[in-house]
Symmetry: C2
């Protein structure tokens, strides 16, 4: 058992996406997919998810080929979770055309004895009751992080609040932070969320960068500027992959490590949006990550 393995629980999906630059039909997507395709550069990753019988074998092989442990991906009777989205020129906000939960609807992740022992866990955006169900199964968690979405804030607020009391890192986007806290101003929103439990609140603002709040410090990072954002799908989860991945080196969340982790997350997200699906992340090398990390220094120093 690796002492830095990350358990990623979330979706493995088939996405159909249209952007101003092209379209893709039923390509590999899902929060756990994007997360693990990014986090694998920093630590071994085990995915727990569910797919349907129609899930293409080539996609399972693709994830496996990235060095990710896919034994926790169950195949259930029925169809795979599908998402269909449209991005217009404002690439920060997709329009969801269709969501078919399919097998994901009855997803109730039971962890293998191996997975229960992972010291790191990323709970991607799923029902907060399930996120807590996973967390309770884990035996020696050193660092836990979770994401969520407006749907759970609106429909499962008490469960989400309980979850916030037991995770160390909470990641969300700016509108989610506002909705969860009832504060428009992001400083006040983050302070409100920090009071509910997490040590870190990471607010992802898409093309406008990331704000990372702790009780002791505040870090602002711009997004990497690209001449072409091809497809923003998965940007948040690939950010989380780089961020949590890097933090396996500093589970006590030292301030310098957290700052660097935000930049590594931003680097992974920036590569991810250069193509549909995980195509760019699958080809990425560590040297590419380090190069862009250096560019971030250059873009922001004064």
């Amino acid at each position: 058992m690796n002492n830095n393995r990350i358990l990623a629980v979330g979706s493995v999906a088939l996405d159909s996406v249209k952007t101003p630059f092209g379209k893709a039909r039923e390509v590999l997507g899902g929060s756990a997919t994007y997360f693990s395709a990014s986090a694998r550069f920093f630590a071994p990753v085990s995915v727990v998810a569910v797919v349907g019988q129609d899930f293409p074998k080539k996609y399972l092989n693709l994830i496996k080929g990235l060095g990710v442990d896919v034994r926790g991906i169950e195949t259930d009777k029925g169809k795979t979770f599908r998402w269909e989205g449209l991005y217009e020129y404002d690439l920060n906000n997709p329009r969801t055309l269709k969501t078919e939960l399919n097998v994901f609807q009855s997803f109730k992740p039971k962890l293998s004895s191996e997975n229960k022992k992972c010291p790191f866990v990323f709970l991607a955006n799923i029902d907060p009751d399930l996120q807590r169900f996973v967390l309770r199964q884990m035996k020696r968690v050193r660092l836990s992080a979770c994401d969520t979405m407006n749907y759970w804030i609106e429909n499962k607020r008490p469960s989400l609040k309980r979850l916030l009391g037991s995770v160390k890192i909470f990641l969300c986007n700016d509108s989610e932070a506002r909705e969860l806290s009832g504060e428009y101003n992001l400083v006040r929103a983050a302070k409100g969320i920090l009071r509910q439990g997490p040590e870190l609140v990471v607010i992802k603002k898409g093309e406008h960068g990331v704000i990372c709040f702790s009780k002791d410090f505040l870090f602002l990072a711009p997004a990497y500027l690209l001449e072409k954002v091809f497809d923003p799908t998965g940007a948040g989860d690939s950010f989380a992959g780089g961020f949590v991945g890097y933090l396996t080196r500093s589970p006590h969340l030292s301030e310098p490590a957290v700052r660097r982790a935000v930049i590594y997350g931003s680097v992974l997200a920036s590569y991810n949006v250069e193509s549909f699906s995980v195509n760019r992340l699958a080809k990425l090398k560590l040297s590419g990550i380090e190069t862009r990390y250096g560019q971030f220094k250059n873009l922001t120093r004064f």
Copy 2:
């Protein structure tokens, strides 16, 4: 004659503003006002503008009290330029309720022989034909900067293009950059504008910070995070004041100086939005500017 004096040509106005936090009626505003209240920390400033006979003497004294040369502010027959705006929770985008140009309508700035010799000039958002008219009167300009707005992009594009061929620094917000260039992506937008002449294109994104483009480098700066943005009016012009003000020390636009200038601009803008009118800027001290500059380092280092 100071060898670092800045000439600021633009509006001196009476603003009525409503924000989620309060309202102000007929307070001192205008682009030249905000610019000079900020730039004065770095270099002597002379303002050229026009007001009406109803312009309160106390406001003229207020500007003068900041050490700004107001001899170029003419008083014309008629009423002062008035703007009325409403900000809702999304403080980045004001809703203009009323614009009364009044004496500003026939503003045709003729420079005194002293003002013609200023080595630095900021041409705030006015008709690009007037901006060029001012620039042509100047005898030994070392550094020129201008701003504009969507109205001129839509109605005076050829004039604006000619202006871009003769200024060194162009400042605008993100939607103006997009409209002027016809490119949604800001990298491509900035490249398009750089090809029209300026050495620097500075895109102001409000609460999302600033992107500064030159042919040789790119600099990204976040905005200072405030727990309360009281009134965003004048943020862009106070940014310009800090930015151009600092650059009087480096008229050749050395890369390190430009980067620092962006941060000084952001510091001034962040103070400005803490109150209505120039109230906060009027009370500001150099030590406050240096403190927040240091905080910017701390907020962004990794």
